[in-house]
Amino acid sequence: MNRLLFVLTGIFSLFFFASAGMAGAEKLWVSSADAKLKADKTASADTIAELPLGTPLTLLSSDSKWYQVSTASGKKGWIYRGKVSNKPPAKSATAGTSLGSALGQLTGSGIKANQSDTSRSIRGLSPEAEVYAAENGTPEECRKALDSVLKSRTDRNETETFLKQGNIGEYAK
C-alpha cells in the first residue's frame, strides 16, 4: 500500500511540475517577414529554418538582443528579438480578406492580392486609378511617376545586404 502511495505521489509530482513548467514557458510569435532561426546568436550563423509570420515559439533563454527558442516541431535555435512579439500577429496582417474585391467587381479588374506583385509590371495602374485619372485630367507625368514607383521593387536579399552594410539590427557589431 505504502509503495502504491509512493508511486502515485511520484506520478502526481511529475505531472504537477511538468504542467507548471509548461505554464511558465513564455510563448512568442514570429511577427515580421523574413524571420530566420539561427544556429547561434549571430546573423552569420547557419540558418536552421525560415519561419513564416505567426509561427509560435517557446522562449528558452535570452542573451542581449537574441532569444533562444524552440518551435512546435522541436527545432531549437536563436532568433533576433525584433522578429518576434509576445502576441500573435493579427489575422489582417496578411493581405486580402474573405469579403471579395469591392472594386474588382466594379470594374472587372479581378486581380487577386497574391497576384498583385507579379501582374503589376504587366498591367500598369489599376483600372480604377486609370478611370479616375482619365476623368480628372491627371497629368500624364503623374501617371508615369506612379507607374515607375510601382515597378521598382526591393527584394529581401537587397534589404538584408543593406542592413548588413549599415550594421543594423541582427547585423549590429
Binding site: 528579438r81 493579427a90 469579403l99 474585391s101 489599376s126 521598382s152 534589404t159 549599415g166 543594423i168
Partner: protein
C-alpha cells in the same frame, strides 16, 4: 433531417420560431461573416416568401457592408484607392526626385522597417518627391511619400527610418480607410455586381477619394491615429535595429523650423502639435533603455542626402 414541408408543420412551433430555426440551421453551416449569414438566410427562404427573413437579409447585408467599411476592405481594392490618392499626391506635392540612387536608398530604409510593421507581408513602395513642404504621407495599401524638404532636414538614417516607420504604421493600422469608413461608397460594397465606375457607384468612389484627399492632404488624420502611428513607428524602428529616438529628433528639428515653414499641406497642419508629440514620444523612450546602442547610420545617410 426533415424535408422543408415537414419542417413547416412541426407541431408546437409558431411560424416565427420555424423561421428562426431555419435561420439558425443555415447559419450554423455558413457562420463566417454577416455577408455569409445573409446568404444563409436566403438559403432558408429561397423564394423570399417570409417578410421577417427578408428583413434579416437586409440587416445582415448591411452588417456585411459595415464590416467591409471598417477597414477590412480587400487588399486589391485598398491598393487601387491608394493608387488613386498617389496620383493626386504627385499632382499636389511634386514629381519624384530624379535620382534612382536616392530613390533606391529610401526604398531600402522603408522596406527594412516595413517588414516589421503590422502588415509585413504586403509590398510597400516609397518615393521622395521634389517639394519644399515638410511632409510625409501614406496611401492605403502601402504607397508612401516623403518630401525632399523633409529628407534634407534630417541628419541620419534613424530619423528617416522613424518617419517611414510612422507612415508604415498608418498603413498597418489602415488609418486612412478607417477615416472614411462611413463613406456612402462602402455601403453594400460586399455585394456589388456589374455596376460601372461611371454610374452612381463611380460617383460615390470619387466622393470617397475626395474625402480621403482632404484627410491626407489638408485636415489630417484623427489625432489619436497620429499618436498611435508615432508609438508604433518607434516600436517598428526599434525592432528593426534603429534608434527609435530618430523620430523624436525629426519632430524636434521641425519644431525649430515651424515658425518660418509653410504650413499648408505639411506635417505642421495635418498632425497634432509637435510639442505634444515630442512629449509622448519622450515618455515612450523609457521602454527602450538600450536605444542608445542601436543604429543611427549618419555617413550613409549624408552621402545620399548631399546628392539632392
Amino acid at each position: 433531417m426533415k424535408s422543408e414541408k415537414e419542417a413547416d408543420n412541426i407541431p408546437g412551433f409558431s411560424k416565427e420560431r420555424r423561421d428562426f430555426l431555419r435561420l439558425a440551421g443555415a447559419a450554423g453551416l455558413l457562420m463566417i461573416t454577416p455577408g455569409c449569414l445573409a446568404e444563409a438566410v436566403k438559403m432558408a427562404d429561397p423564394q423570399g416568401q417570409s417578410k421577417d427573413l427578408q428583413k434579416a437579409v437586409k440587416i445582415l447585408e448591411g452588417a456585411g457592408a459595415m464590416a467591409a467599411s471598417a477597414g477590412e476592405l480587400d487588399y486589391q481594392s485598398e491598393f487601387a484607392i491608394g493608387e488613386t490618392l498617389a496620383l493626386e499626391g504627385f499632382r499636389r506635392y511634386g514629381l519624384p526626385v530624379k535620382d534612382s540612387g536616392v530613390q533606391k536608398y529610401v526604398s531600402l530604409v522603408g522596406n527594412a522597417v516595413a517588414r516589421n510593421s503590422a502588415r509585413p507581408n504586403i509590398p510597400f513602395y516609397f518615393v521622395v518627391v521634389n517639394s519644399p513642404i515638410y511632409n510625409a504621407f501614406s496611401c492605403p495599401g502601402g504607397i508612401i511619400f516623403v518630401s525632399s524638404a523633409l529628407v534634407r532636414a534630417m541628419e541620419d538614417e534613424s530619423q528617416l527610418a522613424g518617419v517611414l516607420a510612422h507612415e508604415a504604421a498608418h498603413v498597418g493600422h489602415r488609418h486612412a480607410l478607417q477615416s472614411v469608413k462611413r463613406a456612402k461608397f462602402f455601403e453594400g460594397v460586399a455585394k456589388i455586381g456589374d455596376a460601372a465606375m461611371k454610374g452612381e457607384k463611380g460617383k460615390k468612389f470619387k466622393e470617397m477619394i475626395g474625402t480621403l484627399q482632404n484627410v491626407l492632404f489638408d485636415r489630417g488624420l484623427d489625432q489619436n491615429m497620429e499618436y498611435e502611428a508615432d508609438m508604433s513607428g518607434m516600436e517598428i524602428a526599434y525592432r528593426t535595429g534603429y534608434d527609435p529616438e530618430g523620430l523624436i529628433k525629426v519632430l524636434e528639428i521641425l519644431n525649430e523650423k515651424e515658425a518660418t515653414a509653410r504650413k499648408e499641406g505639411s506635417w505642421f497642419s495635418t498632425h497634432p502639435p509637435l510639442s505634444a508629440r515630442i512629449a509622448r514620444c519622450r515618455e515612450r523612450m523609457k521602454k527602450y533603455p538600450d536605444a542608445g546602442s542601436l543604429a543611427s547610420v549618419r555617413e550613409r545617410f549624408a552621402f545620399y542626402r548631399n546628392r539632392f
